[in-house]
Symmetry: C2
């Protein structure tokens, strides 16, 4: 006779995973808004509807939770990056622009608040926790990959023209984008994002006067 | 007969000012390192050697202290900006480069930690406190002024060439610089600052091929 009290192992694992994901999902939202140090574990568990004691079933400590949170954010960017690279209907330069435009729309819908969770975490935790710092730079490199690939494709097809390597240009674009988001939070307008857009896509990448690199 | 217990008013004022400055100076260092929310008032007063109760003689509350701290940081940038504008021995483009180079050296000496206090405060407080946000944008505009003036001078003398206004270029440079500092905190190297330097000063401002704007 089957013992229904002994559920198969995978069921428990899934339940755990799903509770863990609920905590991460609520945590991601609250930390994005309030910052990591400013967010209490209790606040996240309350929002997730998970009993207080169970946090330590899923995470060793708050730092372990924070690192999982970074993975969770990274997953979001990985998904967006894959979409960009898979899309073969649009020119590479246009896809690159779509990538940044989608965030522009997100910020516009959120009163120019929140900012980039990776940028926020870098300024907040980059000096305090070496484990955070290493993972944050891994995420920057992960985001750089599709940007670099799209720049290479755009350059190869003569859509853009610039004098440095695709890797350096990708880093410069990503860093400048983080700076534009930072300034947005002081201006509470999308002005800095639009300035970034104009500077990168109509000037620095030379889209109109594109010619083979000299 | 003179009553030595009743010190002249100006003496009290100077003493107050000097104690207040000590608190701000120690506070500026600690908050630069740990962030505003993460720093306790007690910690600052201990470092300043000022008795616990006296904080509220100088500041209405922690937000009032934070706003005074922003003025204190702003004073530092104002002083640097004046130096730059007063220096008539070097070409404008070189002076602009010196401005960013001096920060590069500071970060190198500080293990690529700390970052920009204005950038840090913007990400940390920009969404939380409207009073902080307004003052932070004022400081960005204050920093933009000398950058814009040097760009105008460099352009007028044919040292640089670019297609946008000096104001927009100044904003783009400042925002990208903030982004480079952010990335520095993830990389723990000055790589992003040097990339910024190369991109702005050897490519985007067209210093070699400078020609009148078309």
């Amino acid at each position: 006779m089957l013992d229904y009290n002994r559920r198969p192992v995978y069921y428990n694992t899934m339940l755990r995973a799903s509770k863990k994901l609920t905590i991460l999902d609520k945590g991601a939202q609250i930390v994005h808004k309030k910052g990591f140090n400013h967010t209490g574990i209790k606040e996240i568990l309350d929002a997730a509807g998970v009993p207080k004691g169970s946090f330590y079933h899923y995470f060793r400590d708050k730092e372990d939770f924070g690192l999982s949170l970074l993975d969770y954010y990274a997953g979001f960017f990985a998904q967006k990056a894959q979409e960009l690279l898979r899309d073969k209907d649009n020119p590479a330069l246009e896809r690159l622009k779509m990538f940044f435009d989608s965030f522009h729309d997100f910020f516009e819908a959120n009163s120019c608040e929140l900012g980039c969770p990776i940028g926020n975490m870098t300024l907040e935790m980059g000096d305090i926790s070496p484990a955070f710092r290493v993972k944050l730079e891994e995420i920057f490199l992960m985001i750089r990959r599709p940007v670099e690939a799209l720049l290479a494709e755009a350059r190869q097809k003569g859509e853009v023209s610039f004098r440095t390597s695709e890797r350096e240009m990708a880093d410069f674009i990503i860093n400048s984008w983080e700076g534009a988001i930072l300034r947005m939070k002081a201006q509470k307008s999308t002005e800095a994002l639009e300035l970034f857009n104009r500077m990168i896509f109509t000037t620095i990448l030379n889209p109109s006067s594109a010619f083979p690199d000299t």
